[in-house]
Symmetry: C2
Subunit: 685 residues, 2 copies
Amino acid sequence: MIGGRRPLPGRKIADRRVRVARPHAPYFRYTGPGQLVAKKAASRPLTPTGRLVAKAKAVLIGRPLMSEEEIGERLPKKKALAIFSSDAISSSAYATEEILRILIVAGVSALALSVEVALAIAVLLAVVSFSYRQVCRAYPSGGGAYVVARENLAPVFGLIAAAALLIDYVMTVAVSTASAIQQIQSVVPEAFNYRIEIAFVSIALITIGNLRGLRESGNIFAVPTYLFVGLALLIVGTGIVRIIQGTAVPLPPQPQALVPGGEALTVFLLLRAFAGGSVALTGVEAIANGVPAFKPPESKNAANTMTAMAVLLGVLFVGITIVARAYQIVPSVDGSGGPTVIALVAGAAFGLGTPLFVAFQAATALILFLAANTSFNAFPRLAAILAVDGYMPRQFSFRGDRLAYSWGIVLLAGIAFALLYLFDGDTHALIPLYSVGVFVTFTLSQAGMVRHWFRVRESGWRWRSAVNGLGGVMTLVVLVVVASVKFADGAWLVVVLIPIQVGMFLFIYRQYAATARQLAIRPDLVVPLPHREERVVIPIQTLNRAVVQAINVGRSISDDVRAVFISDDPEEAEELRRRWEQQVPGVPLVIVESPYRALAGPFLAYLEVLDRAWPPDKEAPITFVVLPEYVARNWWERILYNQAVRRLRSVLLGRPHTVVVNVPYRREEPEVFEQALAADPTDQA
Amino acid sequence: MIGGRRPLPGRKIADRRVRVARPHAPYFRYTGPGQLVAKKAASRPLTPTGRLVAKAKAVLIGRPLMSEEEIGERLPKKKALAIFSSDAISSSAYATEEILRILIVAGVSALALSVEVALAIAVLLAVVSFSYRQVCRAYPSGGGAYVVARENLAPVFGLIAAAALLIDYVMTVAVSTASAIQQIQSVVPEAFNYRIEIAFVSIALITIGNLRGLRESGNIFAVPTYLFVGLALLIVGTGIVRIIQGTAVPLPPQPQALVPGGEALTVFLLLRAFAGGSVALTGVEAIANGVPAFKPPESKNAANTMTAMAVLLGVLFVGITIVARAYQIVPSVDGSGGPTVIALVAGAAFGLGTPLFVAFQAATALILFLAANTSFNAFPRLAAILAVDGYMPRQFSFRGDRLAYSWGIVLLAGIAFALLYLFDGDTHALIPLYSVGVFVTFTLSQAGMVRHWFRVRESGWRWRSAVNGLGGVMTLVVLVVVASVKFADGAWLVVVLIPIQVGMFLFIYRQYAATARQLAIRPDLVVPLPHREERVVIPIQTLNRAVVQAINVGRSISDDVRAVFISDDPEEAEELRRRWEQQVPGVPLVIVESPYRALAGPFLAYLEVLDRAWPPDKEAPITFVVLPEYVARNWWERILYNQAVRRLRSVLLGRPHTVVVNVPYRREEPEVFEQALAADPTDQA
């Protein structure tokens, strides 16, 4: 609010503005001189079609939310655990299987080592989640690895982290959806044949859900997450009791089981199994990125949720692996449509086909779909942060009606579905692309935190930086292991993609920065506003109401108005001139014969001639080209009208000192100031 | 040229216009007051990119032609025969096969009747071509069945004929291309596997050829047509000599030959054979449609060319059928990739694999590609006539650089290739869609001619109308036969499509007519041009050169200029206001806080408020909304810029009394009148 705004020196404009700014309109609250706050009605669509679209949108994605309502969207811990942890916890549905798939090539006996591998990964999980607790505390504003790396290391590391995170989010959607469908197919084998269709429908539903906004997410998603956790704990518990009782005996291999190989059990194989199983850690960072979505005190709530999540994930992952080893479960052949390892584990505990088994598989599929949903929260947020910082196109920072970043949501859904389609919905084929990005993020984030503690040196900074340092070194080692042992399986793609993405970020940044620099004006300069001369040129094709309206607009701009008729038919041109001179005597008509039948070329050339005829000592005037443009009411009118106008506009937009004026015309409603001309209905000019 | 144009009463405008219209510019010849004729330079592109595109276009489709050069494009008879007859004559490459395919279901002995069926079709050909000679004479301006039926029967019959013709042209391209590829595959069987790729390349080449224009067509295409006719006559001659000598003995069936069936030889079967073979008549109407392309005397030359074509076609078709019968040739199984009947006939005459055989197959493939080319002449011409008459979107009457109707050419190529793709390049599957349209055209055209003779009653009108009447009745009978016996094979599609197309024509006509009627102004009215009040509103997002330029343009339009800043961040808004009041003191800034973050809605609402504040006794002013628009230099700049502008423009275009002004800005070249503001490069506003 500006208190001492000096009154503009007795200008007509100023008077008018003041008079205009105070109407008791339903649209605005008046909060100061030249300062309005839009009410809800101001965002209401003005046309019948617009209102219809808005109504359909309201049904599909809910009523619009105001910015101030955002605080009401904050999540209590239990809901936040459901939303932000579904990604991490759901990894337990496929991480064990990834370990077994590698070990089986060294024979059934090698499967015994799966628990040791899982325990190693659980140790890594403990270190990483402990490191991330500190991120939650140090960065209550969220932003995760991108912000941490950018602020503590260098902008380019922030961008690397951002690129890795974006890839990670896309992969979360693809892998979780694929795995969810494999869980369904473990119960209903026919689903295998419809996996792409199911993937499409599920991603579409998640997309619509997210365009509706955050709050619904919490409500819809809490139940299945806790159902999965509960049932999975029951399976692990049952299994361990049976192991202690000695009743957990190896099952006979199922029909689609992989044939055990005869390779030697090398360290390299163990490393590969570790790299495969480390997919269990994906999604751990989600809570640190989403701190501002927690209820206050945000940092503390987020850190505690992080610990709860890590404990749950560790117990489930190791427990499932122990049970799988006890029953000597062997994964199915890839692409055979056979059951998943976790389904076999559940079958061993509950009995295949029992209601509990079916319920668990349903809960597993649901939590995996919810894991995909985690990315639908995170991806658009990160894209919007990048867009605000100038690293992504600006439209990613536009907000849709429901405080959701619609552009990011739709882009994420599109890429993820494309990946599922290309990899034919195969979880196992997608996973090598998954882990690399995750560990890049982890490493950069921990490295950034070490620098952070060294800079702030608050109490306990030494042990805090040691924790993050340990986490950073461990995740770096894992990153190198994962990238090298899975390089040929697809990890190379991520290694290539990250620099490409960073290049794109920098390219976009430089574009916007260069434009802003070129367009900048010195902040101390009082802008001179000379009144330039202007002329109006109106290309016409006939004489009708639309043309008369264009002339009217042209005369409002300048006294120097002329119409130009480009024709390849001299007789038609003569006929038009005759009519023109009788009906529009005040406006000169120039006829340009165009034997080459081109329209744009001769018109541009005519403008050139006008400019050259201007006295060289005088500054050339602004040329206003007035183009009548039909207001198309539907798609076929867009085909039937405005083709010539579109061609002209696109060539004129590049011309210096030239301004294009679009005067709309429609069929039914003659402009008020046109009614005097209202057509004689028998005349078809 | 207007001689006694009264001088405009001493207005500034008029002086300026006269001064401006006489510059010794390189672009125009000055032919009268306010009358210019564009020279070639006027159509020259003005930007470097434009020049590059034009150069590429010149290489690909040749230099631009002037309208006056069109007469030089007229065709002598021999070239015209090659261009307009390739469609009809090339039918002999597949018509015999269509007869044999039907008869074979009644066993090998039934093949003997093929010659009788062919002769019946030849009689029909004689009548139809004789009827069409009269069309050439009566309608020297061309236009064929559409014009004849429209003028003599009723507009709707003209549209039915036009719909049938358009379908016919598309089918010609599809069938001829498919058959051409089958001819190639008769020599090189591997080509069968690449038939879709070959189809794509050939249609693309023909499309480019036609975008180059008509003259080249004649030069490129005359040689293969005459080569085909010469070699085919040689085959027929050789065959008939051998039949007379008694050395033409039945060949053993080739490996992919159809297994003869055991059905009875019914009249229905004979009718089906006749319907199949009647595809030989397709393309006969092409000459009548193309009369204006002939050298003068157009009608006589066209009529004589018509007769020459009919004789050649008749001789080849019947001759090939006779030779095929003598050698007892059996068609290949559909989709087996086996040789065509005409290839087997040529093999029997020249010996399979001999140089003459290969040359003939090459010539056959070439003439079939040229047949496709016939449609590339006819389809865009007819579409342009329909567009000028208001039955098709106007852009079909735009002309490209080479006097060719680019839109029609590209549309035809697209649909024809789509058909080939959908029918998997199978000639035989496409043919049932082909003949129905042709006979609809024939019937309507002959019926129209009967009415024509009754109206004009010039010498010989009785026998002339009798000839056309006979033709009309015969083609109507054939139409009914073809449509019914081939209905289930695909003819139903055409029966459905024709009314749909006619409906579309009428719909488009009514749209344009209604618009013209609504926009018409009484021809006796001298248009009043009141000088309306105007106001300028400029939505802004920051303060930079682009905004200053927009303000400059706005002040050229009106003194009432205000900027509107829509923001969801009050602090940012205050900051901008501070800067604005210091740097642009003459222009009021209105800040609209938009808690819903929408842009378009609050802006429209603000305009509404402005309108309501206007005194109700005064006419509301025109609102000029000035939008700075970035001139994108490539595709990625189109993604990075102008998103918000596009959204605003599309909502504003529907608002009454509102005019959108697009002020272009670019990065590198500050507008001359902006240089005073040139940015301090260290300032990144």
